[in-house]
């Protein structure tokens, strides 16, 4: 069974540019989460999809971040325009659907905004 995959693995952009991150969850996992780790701090929750619907987006920092999950399969997270403080590692995780179920994480996308 393939794990969670994320693309790209690294991205270096300039302030003001746009970046789109992609996550492919484990097949059959209805729940998809985005998290971010900034500067060696804790991994913070961004949002949660159940299939194609946003279940909880309380962790999204501001309206420069837009997440979508078309057809309930892969998800994208767009940052537009990027700011310096957006630098960090963006993780995607997926799970089947029950609360407290194991979330399986992808390797992350390392974003650096210059």
């Amino acid at each position: 069974e393939a794990g969670v995959t994320q693309f790209p693995s690294h991205s270096v952009i300039e302030k003001g540019q746009t970046v789109t991150l992609r996550c492919d969850p484990i097949s059959g996992h209805d729940n998809l989460y985005w998290y971010r780790r900034v500067m060696g701090k804790e991994i913070k929750f961004l949002l949660h999809f159940v299939k194609e619907s946003k279940q909880d987006e309380s962790g999204m920092p501001n309206n420069r971040f837009l997440a979508e999950r078309t057809g309930g399969t892969y998800s994208t997270l767009k940052v537009q325009p990027a700011e310096l403080e957006d630098s960090g590692v963006y993780f995607c995780a997926s799970s089947r659907g029950l609360p407290r179920e194991t979330q399986y994480f992808g390797p992350g996308t390392r974003l650096l905004v210059l």
Partner: protein, 111 residues
């Protein structure tokens, strides 16, 4: 406000020694406490988890101790090995499903 506090930030242990990482939480709605292990270039992976109705859970060399009244829990790695060198995150969750993580502990086990 950080809801899960983790210490120490880094830990160096000799091979064969015991590694201990501590976490404390504030939100009493949390009812599931997983520990994740992350190797460089990889995403976090579930290591072991505990529910608050038990005080201890052991899986091989890894043990979680849980103190509900103090709202604290800890990870003990017995007979630590160089292959255990990684970053460890404690986390907490409840019905909301999202994980709330601690800030991570970088463990180095010296050969």
């Amino acid at each position: 406000q950080q809801q899960v506090k983790q210490s120490p930030q880094s830990l160096i242990v000799q091979k064969g020694g015991i590694s201990i990482i501590n976490c404390a939480y504030e939100n009493t709605a949390f009812d599931y406490f997983p520990w994740y292990q992350q190797f460089p270039g990889k995403g976090p992976a579930l290591l072991i988890a505990i529910r608050p109705d038990v005080s201890e859970k052991k899986e091989g060399r890894f043990t979680i101790s849980f103190n509900k009244s103090a709202k604290q829990f800890s990870l003990h790695i017995m007979d630590s090995q160089p292959g255990d060198s990684a970053t460890y995150f404690c986390a907490a969750t409840g019905s909301a499903r999202q994980l709330t993580f601690g800030s991570g502990t970088q463990l180095t086990v010296l050969p």
